[in-house]
């Protein structure tokens, strides 16, 4: 199938059930809110090695934050509740509590409540103050720049992780440029994040390895340098492949993000160097969700 002159492969992305939470980080200005968020979402690219996948969802205006300051919302995804709880607490404690002028609030509501500042309050060493406002409890922890305000808990909701598509290109600069165009188009899209650096993955993986201790290894089927020696899925003129991984709160969000990204690439001048758009899957046996590219783009 051709979409605006760009080949869309007849394949699908395979995604998994995950659990997600959202927090809102505010600070005196955007610079420090961003610093806190960058620190929080650092080393949170894949559950394989990082425990959680996290990313900045969008920038929030002053009117959209609970304390009327600049802020960002962060989405974080994990396979298990315990890991999500632990990672949230650790990262808020080490990355947001430590960052000047910041405050942190819950950004999502459901019946499944997980702690946010509940245990961090002990950092106040008895000087912490509890405030209950509109059925929500907040903690005021004295710190050296004044006080750190945090909500006691946030919520956990079902979500989907691993939605993706692959950009197959003639060369590396055009592939990277196409990915940048795609990421820019979904930058402030609600309910989705792209957890990898800059939103792009170059080291797509397959399950398993020749080495028994590894659970994942390089996706040789899509490695251009291995075309001549492995069973490759790449055409002769493909010399670079990059992947965009999208996590979202539901199927619609991810489908919309994939659609917008591909549309953005197809609209740009860079499409002349793009050979095709494909997707990563495991034969459809592992993931609970299948995102068929052609259906989405129709």
């Amino acid at each position: 199938m051709k979409y605006k002159g760009m080949q869309i492969e007849n394949t699908f992305a395979e995604a998994f059930n995950m659990k997600a939470s959202r927090i809102i980080v505010t600070a005196d200005n955007l610079k420090w809110a961003k610093n806190a968020c960058d620190s929080f979402t650092g080393f949170a690219t894949s559950v394989i090695g990082c425990g959680i996948e996290a990313g900045i969802e969008k920038q929030l205006s002053k009117a959209a934050t609970p304390d009327g300051r600049h802020g960002y919302s962060i989405l974080l995804f994990s396979m298990s509740r315990n890991v999500l709880e632990k990672q949230l607490e650790t990262r808020v404690g080490q990355c947001i509590l430590t960052c000047p002028t910041t405050a942190v609030f819950s950004g999502i509501e459901s019946d499944d409540v997980i702690p946010l500042g509940k245990n961090l309050r002990y950092f106040g060493d008895g000087h912490q103050i509890s405030k209950k406002i509109n059925k929500k409890r907040f903690w005021r922890i004295p710190v050296m720049d004044g006080e750190f305000l945090c909500e006691e808990s946030t919520s956990r909701v079902p979500a989907i992780g691993g939605g993706n598509f692959l950009v197959l290109s003639k060369n590396r600069p055009s592939c990277l440029k196409a990915c940048e165009v795609a990421i820019d188009s979904i930058k402030n899209l609600p309910n989705v994040i792209t957890p990898f650096p800059g939103g792009v993955v170059r080291s797509g993986s397959k399950i398993g390895s020749k080495y028994k201790t590894l659970i994942a290894s390089t996706n040789d089927e899509f490695c251009p340098t291995l075309k001549s020696i492995t069973k490759s899925s790449l055409a002769n003129n493909v010399n670079c492949v990059m992947e965009i991984v999208i996590n979202g709160l539901d199927e619609k969000d991810i489908s919309l993000a994939i659609k917008k990204s591909i549309q953005a690439i197809a609209k740009s001048n860079i499409k002349k160097d793009i050979v095709s758009i494909s997707a990563g899957n495991y034969g459809g046996k592992l993931g609970q969700y299948h995102f068929h590219l052609r259906k989405i783009i129709k």
């Binding site: 300051r69 103050i129 509890s130 004044g146």
Partner: protein, 267 residues
């Protein structure tokens, strides 16, 4: 479904216990409400004999032309909305648990006494013992939000445990006695013996005579105050105090051993 509207049609000199509107869990339909028995002096009446009744949603009630003989309105209220136009009697919103109770008028003593949750708005004045201790309880306000647009009488806010109170007018003598925790905003003047035997809590005031007994804390940025005022303005629907005003923080009493926090808003 249309909200139930009640209007008193029978003149009476005795006090009316209106607690049946919110206390009786058996009132699930308009028929049951209409046949409810109300005590008035030594007489008993059906609701329809005392009130003109219209509408059918018994969880949303409007009371028109209320009189100050109506006691216990919104008592023990849980998950209801009651709006009252006119003046009401004693114990308005006593021990309410959740829901929204609005009064466009004045109330007598023990308004919001022992309130446990929900939001109570009085767009008028209240008598003594606002959030006072109910007879069978030692806590004046356990949780919830109370807003009074006008003035408040003496002995108000006793043993406040939690919750949020906003008073736009003045408050009488002996108020905030034995406050344990919670947050209070008072925009008007404050009477004698304010905050006696207080333990903790946050008080935001404009009357500077209170702060002479408290220790000046610092000029550090307190993230909470802006956040709190924003939340209150969302609740009330208007800015209670301008955020741009200079706010000075006092923390701890000079003589007593308490951890009360006072924010003085400079005029």
């Amino acid at each position: 479904m249309k909200p139930v509207t009640l209007k008193l049609k029978k003149k009476t000199k005795f006090r009316l216990d209106m607690g049946f509107l919110s206390c009786n869990p058996n009132i699930t339909s308009i028929e049951k409400l209409k046949s409810q028995i109300v005590f008035n002096g030594k007489n008993q009446y059906k609701v329809t004999e005392l009130f003109s009744v219209s509408g059918s949603d018994v969880k949303n009630i409007f009371i028109k032309s209320a009189k100050n003989i109506m006691d216990n309105l919104g008592k023990d209220m849980d998950g209801m909305n009651i709006t009252v136009h006119g003046n009401v009697g004693h114990s308005f919103g006593k021990e309410m648990k959740s829901g929204v109770l609005k009064l466009y008028g004045n109330s007598l003593e023990y308004t919001a006494s022992g309130i446990k949750g929900g939001s109570l708005f009085v767009f008028g004045n209240t008598g003594n013992y606002l959030c006072g201790k109910p007879s069978a309880n030692n806590i004046g306000i356990l949780d919830g939000f109370v807003y009074v647009k006008g003035n408040v009488g003496n002995h108000s806010i006793q043993r406040m445990r939690r919750g949020n109170i906003v008073i736009e007018g003045n408050i009488g003598d002996y108020s905030c006695h034995q406050m344990i925790s919670g947050s209070i905003i008072i925009k008007g003047k404050i009477g004698k013996n304010f905050c006696d035997e207080i333990k903790r809590g946050t008080i935001i005031i404009k009357d500077k005579k209170v702060v002479k007994n408290y220790l000046l804390a610092n000029n550090a940025e307190v993230n909470f105050i802006k956040f709190y005022l924003l939340q209150i303005s969302k609740w009330v629907g208007k800015n209670i105090l301008p955020l741009s005003k200079n706010i000075i923080r006092y923390h701890g009493h000079k003589d007593e051993n308490n951890l009360c926090e006072v924010f003085l808003v400079k005029n």
